[in-house]
């Protein structure tokens, strides 16, 4: 029974590392390429099952895409070249993290803008409430 905690520990520690192993027959020979590969497949969307990344999808196209990405890495292509190629075929939809561009600017600006607007409204409401309370207190004081 002493082996049980040890087994649990191994499983817990190993779990985050094992995502790519689960879907790929074997790791790439170059650990550096393997590391880049792991990052890429977590950043790219499975184009069939859209809420999964390539890393955790077992759709046929995901397997083919992972194989293609490994091939491109082995051929010495940069992460950017690989992403650009896939975007040219599947559109920006394949990127989990949208690019910074003027077309996408609203994606990045809008949340900040809404936060500022909300903040301004909140401050004003609080100030007004404060002013109301003050007036009431003044009124009470003047009556006595």
């Amino acid at each position: 029974m002493a082996a049980l905690p040890a087994l649990a520990a191994v499983l817990l520690v190993g779990a985050p590392l094992s995502t790519a192993w689960a879907v790929d027959p074997q790791a790439m020979s170059d650990p550096q390429l393997q590391a880049r590969y792991e990052v890429l497949i977590h950043e790219l969307r499975c184009v069939q099952c859209e809420n999964n990344s390539l890393a955790d999808s077992d759709a046929p196209i995901a397997a083919d895409l992972r194989r293609e990405i490994r091939g491109m890495l082995n051929a010495g292509e940069s992460n950017q070249q690989i992403k650009d190629y896939l975007v040219s075929r599947y559109s920006e939809f394949i990127l989990f993290r949208p690019k910074y561009s003027w077309r996408n600017a609203w994606l990045w600006v809008l949340p900040v803008l809404l936060l500022i607007i909300g903040g301004v409204i909140a401050v004003r409401v609080i100030q007004q409430r404060g002013a109301l309370v003050d007036n009431e207190e003044d009124a009470d004081v003047s009556r006595t």
Binding site: Q48, P60, S91
Partner: protein, 182 residues
Amino acid sequence: MNPRFLLPLAVFVVMAVVLAVGINHSHEVGVLKSPLVGHQIPDWELPGLTDPAKSLGSRQLKGQWYVLNYWGAWCYACRVEHSTLLQVQQQGRVQIIGVDWVAGNPDENAAALDWLSRLGNPYSQVVTDRDGRTAIDLGIAQAPESLLVNPQGVIVYKEPGVITPEIWKREFLSRLPKPGAS
């Protein structure tokens, strides 16, 4: 009038517009718009299903209309589509080139041949995509998917799913030249 009373109205109008746009586009949710539509089809060449030595590619098909149909014997939706493809082939308006997508299935080749002999063969030619490289290059995401390619080699339409008789009429026939016109 205090312009503050207009604020809820303004918020309502903005929300109504955003939601209306969203609802209008809801049928496109989950449909990947291919950036390749309207552009030259990337050069492809694939070995034949029955005879791997006999390959077919975009170069040989220049000058002809064709539908490139990705399917696999592992794909249930392709079986649903199959009867429509047989009807299309009988109409004879355009040739359908079948691409058997192996997608890692060890016995796909035999299963595909068995499929065609049992269910009928709607394709003028069938090629096979073993490693999915051509699928990726053509922006294919799943099976079935079909591309309509014109004689200049431009992808004029992509159907990201099952072709039904209605879709065939609306999206494909409407883009093909009228019979006897050319």
